[in-house]
């Protein structure tokens, strides 16, 4: 087993860090509560960072997931927030793996250049929640295309995306053998969907540009179908490992930001005549958080390595996301505690990052569901959900 850090990672970390340094804390503070970081996303796009996973033949950099995850880790560790644009990096994976040659040729180069934004992913619905196969949104075959009817919720960045990857039921549940059949994946062009598509922003506790989306008989051409009809659920699962690994990397970046910020503050802040960091009550939670982040980081790199080697990585990708989101949350808490009252003040940025990182225990998949996966698929216990 080797643990040396590839030169690529060091270069990526340095270059992304330099870019992020031009988007300091004041920039992010000014965006609260619901501004979109247009300039930051544009800078990442222009410099090719969001095209990291797109193969070179389609205009991307053709990096593996391990290297791509370094980009997002660095963004979050720099105090910036990947949430505004991480999906531009990986949502295209479904088109890449399951799309037709025409779809790939039409969309991937434009996604790589940033001319087209594919960073909206419509899966979650109000009634189905974590139980994805129970979604109610339907796509009916009519003439040359499909008609989509239903509602999505928490469709992030839909107002900052041209295309949406959408999961809809094409065969009713009572006509399929398994609930996982009969779901299909569509690449919906929101620019031409007309006013039968309605997108409403949702106010949330962190700035994540998330929305609810209503489909009132939205017509799409048959060419919008990705892969085979009825196999959409499998395609979604297939993209999840990458998403889990990348989200884990963001959490690790957050965790590093919290621990570093708190360690510095605790070493400088003097009360009772000495730095507060001299108290184990302050120091140990930070040391503990650091250790947890390092452990999560190893699982994340293992998962990424497995993925890049083309080996199964479901267990590791899920565990990485679980461990990293727990670690970043512990780090966030320790950082807030170490800052005392000042942690609540917006100008310290702790409360902002605290709100941002809390999301990842629940989305894109709730940690309970990750544990249910590990219990069933790794430990072979009875299915609990």
């Amino acid at each position: 087993m080797r643990f040396d850090v590839p030169a690529d990672f060091v270069e990526i970390h340095a270059a992304v860090g330099e870019l992020c340094a031009r988007f300091p804390a004041e920039y992010w503070r000014a965006l609260e509560p619901d501004g979109y970081p247009e300039e930051f996303v544009a800078a990442l796009t222009e410099n090719g960072w969001l095209a990291a996973l797109i193969p070179e033949e389609f205009g991307g950099a053709g990096l593996g997931v391990a290297a791509a995850s370094m980009i997002l880790e660095t963004i979050n560790a720099s105090g910036c927030n990947s949430g505004a644009c991480h999906a531009q990096m990986y949502t295209m994976g479904s088109v890449l793996r399951h799309g037709s040659a025409e779809q790939k040729a039409e969309y991937l180069p434009k996604i790589a250049s940033g001319e087209l934004r594919l960073q909206a992913f419509g899966v979650t619905e109000p009634t189905a929640g974590s139980d994805t196969t129970s979604i109610q949104t339907t796509a009916k075959r009519v003439g040359d295309g499909y008609v989509i009817r239903g509602q999505k919720i928490w469709t992030s960045r839909a107002l900052h995306s041209d295309l949406m990857l959408l999961l809809a039921r094409t065969t009713p549940t009572d006509q399929v053998e398994k609930k996982t059949d009969g779901l299909s994946m569509f690449l919906l062009d929101m620019r031409t969907a007309g006013d039968r598509l309605e997108i409403r922003p949702i106010q949330t506790m962190m700035n994540h540009a998330t929305t609810e989306v209503f489909f009132d008989d939205v017509e799409v051409p048959a060419t919008a179908l990705v892969g085979e009809e009825g196999k959409g659920f499998r395609y979604i699962l297939d993209g999840m490992n990458v998403e889990r690994i990348l989200i884990a990397a963001e959490c690790i970046g957050d965790g590093r930001w919290f621990v570093e910020k708190a360690a510095r503050y605790a070493s400088e802040r003097v009360v009772f005549g000495r730095p507060i960091g001299m108290n184990q009550g302050v120091q140990f939670p930070l040391a503990r958080a650091h250790a947890a982040i390092e452990a999560a980081d190893l699982v994340r790199h293992k998962a990424a390595w497995l993925f890049d080697e083309g080996k199964p990585c479901g267990a590791e990708a899920n565990m990485a996301k679980f461990l990293a989101s727990e670690a970043s949350w512990a780090a966030a808490n320790a950082c807030l505690d170490a800052h005392g009252g000042y942690g609540f003040a917006a100008e310290y940025d702790v409360e902002r990052k605290f709100r941002e990182t809390r999301l990842y225990s629940i989305a894109p998949v709730s940690n309970n569901l990750v544990l249910a996966y590990i219990g069933q698929h790794v430990l072979g216990m009875p299915r609990s959900y």
Binding site: E11, I12, A15, R22, N47, G48, W49, A61
Partner: protein
Amino acid sequence: MKIAVCVKHVPEGTSRIDPGTKRLDRAGEGALNHFDANAVEEALRLKGDSDTEVVAVSLGPQKALDSLRKALAMGADRAVLVSDDAAAGSDLVATSRLLAAALAKEEPDLVLFGQQASDADGAVLWAAVAERLGRPVVSQAMELSVDGGTVHVKRQTEHGYDTIEAPLPAVVAVSDAINEPRYPSLKGIMGAKKKPQDVLSLADLGVDAGDAGEAGSRTTVLALGDPPARADSQKIEDDGNAAQAIVDFLAEKRLI
């Protein structure tokens, strides 16, 4: 046109002097000297879409390739590293000799330097190299353009600026006010791996080991010491009359 940019790999963070060798400790992480990033940027700006070749040149340990790769990732076409155990510990005189030898091989029309290196802040190397090459040198460049065989430089001074012209080939040291360096793009980083990176030894340059490193240096570090402690100082508390007290003090010392 061919532009050579001299770049230095400098220690990151606070630098430490090794008391044994009396040299700067270069064992830790390093990075491209930020003044040199301005020089690389200026070379790339001059290049624009033209077929001008930009060559980044450095003298240093193998690790200096990291900084050269950054110059390549920013857009330089080629990198040359002069690296040789016998070159370790070179002072200004020896360093300028080695760099001048490497530059003489390249025969560039324009040599760019950053104003100074952030580790030693010498701000003299470009003058020494220009002297060895027998070329005109302009420092503190805050604006730079080339037309035909002439380089035009707006040179920052204490009171304003000088406008200077010099015939090519020439050496120019740029100030950090000249531009804002670009950061490497992902494509740039990936592309840098495919660009030529030559490592040259003293033998490749035709320089004797005796003319490099400590043997080829003219300065010797005898001892290191802390700066003297500040002499007695007087503290004026502001009880409403601080301004008057300062004026009286300065007047007493005949400073105003």
